[in-house]
Symmetry: C2
Subunit: 191 residues, 2 copies
Amino acid sequence: MTKAVRLEEGDASKVPVPAGSNKAVSIMDLVSRLVGITGTLGAAIAMGTNEQTLPFFTRFVRFDAQYDDFRSFRLFVVVNAIVCAYFFLSIPLSIVHIMRSAARGTRILLVILDTIMLALLTAGASAAASIVYLAHNGNSSTNWLPVCQQYGDFCQGASGSLIGSFGGVVVFILIILLAAIALSRQAKRVV
Amino acid sequence: MTKAVRLEEGDASKVPVPAGSNKAVSIMDLVSRLVGITGTLGAAIAMGTNEQTLPFFTRFVRFDAQYDDFRSFRLFVVVNAIVCAYFFLSIPLSIVHIMRSAARGTRILLVILDTIMLALLTAGASAAASIVYLAHNGNSSTNWLPVCQQYGDFCQGASGSLIGSFGGVVVFILIILLAAIALSRQAKRVV
């Protein structure tokens, strides 16, 4: 208990909140972030290494596909790498929240950063998803033919890497929800 | 003052916070939501009415483009309509926050809903943006030709409607930031 009190000294609010009250929520937050790291890292690697060359070519066209051919896929890789790095950097703060249940300023800081990263990750994942959809189904009015019959492996790789990224989106919504719960609990306890 | 106290009676926290302390933040929140309504409504209408028929046709192909031809654009219209309705429904709660600075539970509820809507709107806007990019530039490796030279008006309409939608995304990030500021101010005042 003395350790917990000492750790809380640096907190601006200095409200006499019993330590450990938000511990379960903070531990779930940490676990969610670890899941997020796995998901976004996996998505970035899966998309970044996604490449397929067909075993034939003509005089005019070389048949190969890689993520670099699509701006949206390039964006996807960059965004997932950024979000993965952010998750990694937010781990220490998340651990601090487990030890210091009363921490309020850092929780609000994390909510804001989480929100911005949520927007970034959703943008990257959706842009890539719309291209994957187009690759599968094509579009008749613009004469864009589906390419997944030729580039089956490439399409599968791209579709699979979306899963990790949208998993990251779910993680963000969950941890913002957890932060809101933690903040509202503090409010009740103060009263 | 009696009125303010009476209004705060329904609040769970019942902390003696002076009324009007978060008023400026709450008014900014309300104004941001009104901007958000304009942006998303404009985006939904602009995209929903976007259509262009070319003055010639062949035996095989009829040259017309409308938003309905692209799943991503259809999603865009639906998402913007949903978010616009949400903004509209959240106005009463935002007005309540102007009168009741100490409101905490409803603020946290709005933060959570805002976060979900932010993810939804970003997804719709980005999916549409990636298709607009493709329409402008095409993709050589999949043989998807740019169509904006033929469908100039259609492309301009689609690009323009993205502005309103991304404006809505910025509004959401701003109001989540404002809610975090309001919550952190309450925390300081309680101490």
